[in-house]
Amino acid sequence: MKVDMTTPKHTPLYQKHLDLGARMVEFASYYMPVQYSGILDEHKCVRENAGIFDVSHMGEIFVSGEDALDLLQLLVPQDVEKLSANRAVYAQLTNENGGIIDDLIIYRLADEIFLLVVNASRIKEDLAWIEQNVQREKFKVTVDNQSENFSLLALQGPKAAEIVTELGLPEEEHPEYFSFIEKNLFGHDLFISRTGYTGEDGFEIMVKNDFAPQLWDKILEAGGKYNIKPIGLGARDTLRLEAALLLYGNDMDESVTPIEAGLAWSVSKSKTHNYNGKHVIKQHLENKPAKRLVGFVMLDKAIARHGYEVYNNERQIGVVTSGGVSPTLGVNIGLAYIDDLLKIDDEISIKIRDKFFKAHITKRPFIQKVNKIVK
């Protein structure tokens, strides 16, 4: 019998987290900080000032070569051809049934060079799927998994732009929303994108591992006067839930299409190029799918969690995929797949520890983007 003896890996910032007194947990085969000062405090800090996150566990896969664009067109429902250089797009890797293998951000570095930033827990599956498509179509591409060599730091919050300026990137060089620039700062090449996972303005900075600890310190130093704080996975989850951003494995997986997951906005309606699962996804676009993801707010005092059953008139109509507190709104919120076409404001009930608690369906995101990006 083969025994899995792998122990969790350390990101290059592991020691920084320990020094800052973070509580560490195992997540996607890495030791990651779940919280430093406390989830509620960190959450508030990102909404009001700025926070820095170590997201080095995430995967970075470079795809290049003369068939790189054709490969990506086959892999995702987004129309990658429309993506110009130095811009990024949110997309999903779909299987033949339109199910979501992973969600990712595609960055176009040049005509034939792309960077895919993918979920840490899905790197292996993504690579296998990409490789399978390359083989099948005999594409001339190089797929280069650099996940172990690059670190990723996320700087998020209304003060993020000022901190980036403070760090040495003049405001006129700041990338626009879903764009990026490559810039040499402190003698190191940084890849700075205007993306994130909190519902706030912010940046994600990719850098070679050896410079990551120094960059972490420099960002904390530059953000000092803006009351920046290090933020753990706990607050990352409450922030993304308030912004109704989906979490792979909780809110979506291979059993749902991007349309069912409420991601129709990230599916190109005019794309002529074929892609995996297109027939199913097109069908879901044209005729509403039997189930769909909705947002809800608890009316009774209780917290819904992943896996709890959703009812309407004593009939089970779905299941909660994410749920928790909304520190900003002071209510309990969640996401659920339901198989009824209920409308906004309709009441549902959620079974929590064998009792029923009222909730109502609401618009997503739960919070409006308070800190709009100017450009």
């Binding site: 919280q35 989830i39 509620l40 969690r305 928790g324 520890r353």
Partner: protein
């Protein structure tokens, strides 16, 4: 954070504990458990008068992260619920042995206390 540990505190491996003050028994959870839970945002406790046997679920504590069930460390009847804590669950983070207590109880059988761990032994077990 350091808390004043009540004298004679007895604990379960699942982090519930019992202590006595002025002749009354209090039920709460340990400071170690509170620290592990992080921000407590919701507590669900039974009504006064309810009785529980040892190891029965008597309530739930929700932190930002997750829900955790509470198991009766010994058999008891609820005398009083800490309404202040229900209104302000964060009191548990501030001090589980002071304003953050959960229940005042009457023990069903005082000899059941012998099954519990002394605080020092509990700490060795869980750390």
């Amino acid at each position: 954070m350091s808390f004043e540990i009540p004298e004679g505190l007895l604990c379960t491996k699942t982090h519930e504990c019992v202590y006595q003050q002025d002749g009354t028994y209090f039920i709460t959870i340990t400071d170690f458990a509170v620290e592990q839970l992080g921000d407590v945002v919701f507590v669900e406790l039974p009504e006064a008068g309810t009785e529980f046997a040892a190891e029965e679920v008597f309530g739930t504590i929700e932190s930002v992260k997750a829900a955790s069930e509470l198991y009766a460390p010994v058999g008891f009847k609820v005398l009083e619920v800490n309404d202040g804590l229900v209104a302000q669950p964060e009191l548990l983070n501030k001090d589980p042995y002071a304003d953050g207590w959960l229940l005042k109880v009457e023990l069903t059988d005082v000899s059941e206390l012998d099954t519990l761990l002394e605080y020092d032994d509990y700490k060795t077990e869980v750390h």
